[in-house]
């Protein structure tokens, strides 16, 4: 009865010297790509290499919000597909992802912001994503705890209400995808650090790790916050990325009071109540690149001030935990999904900033398709690295306040 516990993703497998594909990074994007490679493309001889343990990075540090109310026509369909995949994956993985379809409320605090929201809602409706513009009174009806009085720093003019969004349990997705991938034959190697990538005649030939060399024709860089440093150090490919520490925190558990995700660009804060009752809240990003994942008193104060104005019933509530993670931000706040360009067999899925969580299922699915066939699916074509030299940056920065040191 008290025997050794077997991990969900199978017994520890030994590192083979040959794989058809090696995925660097045991986070959501890496695991999702591995899962879809094995399930849909019959590529089962795949290794996921993780330096620490699966879900150590952004996958386990985000605030688990999912939505498809992005700004541009290239981005919306990708997130829409991810949103549709949660219930499907819950069944396929036979694992409860705890999807709570509570809907998102993006608060607007000026007429200009309301106009921007009108454009955003039009984009969403064009793509068949449910999104409405509502006024302050309707906000109050949806979230009675919200303060819509005019005597606060940023009075609420209205909101963009996006019912298909919600929250999931992020750890469950990490474990579920690892379990699903392992059941299809994928090897998940934790505590295995990649130390180099071998390239010969413009083709990927091997991956060096601290546990030995692996021969492989395909590598996916899905190292999240470390993907840009890895890309430059191991292959000399610079990426248009700045790595910033982003913080989040949770309060003590409370009775249900917030049944939607509420976010505000002006207050620079968002909040949702987890199924456990804690108010999970965050948004603060350091405005200079660093890998510290350090938390700051400066931000606790900011968050307390913002929440006390937006949701006055939270005054006096205690914060229980506070943590930081890394966000790899691109100048246009859209990811880089590319491959087979300049180095054959090298694929990248990075630059996700703080929206890698909500997209992981869809990006994993399409990256797997890309890696298996060698042809870039149409869905991913707009996200190439070359868009930056072609001056075809996406307009995602128009969606919300922007955080990168580049703009």
């Amino acid at each position: 009865m008290f025997g050794r516990v077997k991990p969900l993703w199978g017994e520890k497998s030994s590192l083979k010297s040959n794989y058809d594909a090696v995925i660097i990074g045991g986070g959501l994007h890496g695991l999702a790509a591995a899962y879809f490679l094995a399930r849909d493309h019959n590529m089962r001889n795949v290794a996921v290499l993780e330096k620490r343990f699966i879900g150590f990075g952004g996958s386990g540090r985000n605030t688990a919000i999912v939505r498809a109310n992005q700004r541009t026509q290239e981005n919306v369909p990708l997130y829409k597909e991810a949103l549709a995949l949660w219930p499907v994956l819950t069944k396929d993985l036979d694992y409860n992802l705890m999807f709570f379809n509570c809907g998102n409320l993006n608060l607007m605090h000026s007429e200009a912001a309301m106009n921007a929201a009108r454009m955003n809602v039009a984009t969403a409706q064009f793509h068949g994503v449910e999104s409405h513009l509502i006024d302050a009174k309707q906000c109050k009806e949806l979230v009675p705890a919200l303060n819509i009085l005019a005597d606060i720093t940023y009075p609420i003019f209205g909101a963009m209400y996006h019912p298909p969004g919600g929250i999931l349990r992020h750890d469950a997705i990490v474990w579920g995808l690892a379990k699903g991938a392992a059941e299809h034959g994928v090897h998940v190697h934790q505590q295995t650090e990649v130390t180099g990538i071998g390239v010969e005649n413009g083709k990927i030939v091997s991956v060096e790790t601290d546990k030995g060399q692996i021969k492989t024709p395909r590598v996916l860089n899905a190292a999240g916050g470390y993907s840009a440093a890895l890309s430059y150090q191991m292959l000399g490919i610079k990426l248009p990325i700045s790595v910033l520490t982003i913080q989040a925190m949770v309060t003590q558990p409370l009775k249900p009071l917030l049944n939607h995700v509420v976010s505000s660009g002006a207050y620079h804060a968002y909040a949702n109540q987890t199924l456990k009752g804690e108010i999970a809240t965050g948004a603060h990003m350091d405005s200079w690149p660093n890998y510290t994942t350090q938390t700051t008193a400066y931000y606790i104060k900011h968050q307390a001030e913002a929440l006390a104005e937006m949701l006055p019933c939270l005054r006096g509530v205690k914060f229980m935990r506070h943590w930081g993670g890394l966000a790899d931000m691109t100048p246009d706040m859209a990811p880089i999904m590319d491959g087979n360009d300049s180095i054959e067999g090298y694929f990248m899925d990075c630059g996700w900033g703080y929206f890698g969580f909500k997209s992981c299922a869809a990006s994993g699915k399409y990256m797997a398709q890309f890696m298996a066939s060698g042809n870039c699916p149409n869905m991913l074509k707009p996200f190439s690295l070359r868009r930056f030299e072609q001056h075809r940056l996406m307009g995602e920065t128009a969606a919300v306040v922007n955080y990168t040191p580049d703009n």
Binding site: A229, K238, P240, V243, T292, Q294, D406
Partner: protein
Amino acid sequence: MALTLTCPVCGKRNGYEFRYGGEEKGPRPDEAGITPRSWCEYVHMNQCVAGIQKEWWCHKDGCGVWFTTHRDTTCNLEVDKPEAQS
């Protein structure tokens, strides 16, 4: 405090007084013979060093001076002797 920087004019100050100005990438490329790729390289591309990097800062809420410094991005500390690595 998460970050303290040494302004060449004002001395050690709270990091929130400063604006980050990007990695040091050398002089702006000459406009003669410039290609979209070399311009993109200068404008957008970063090394994202997890360690010591040379970078630009502006003392935005102070004297307004622009300066370079070396900082360890893994601990947010300025480095006096900048030669350790790039």
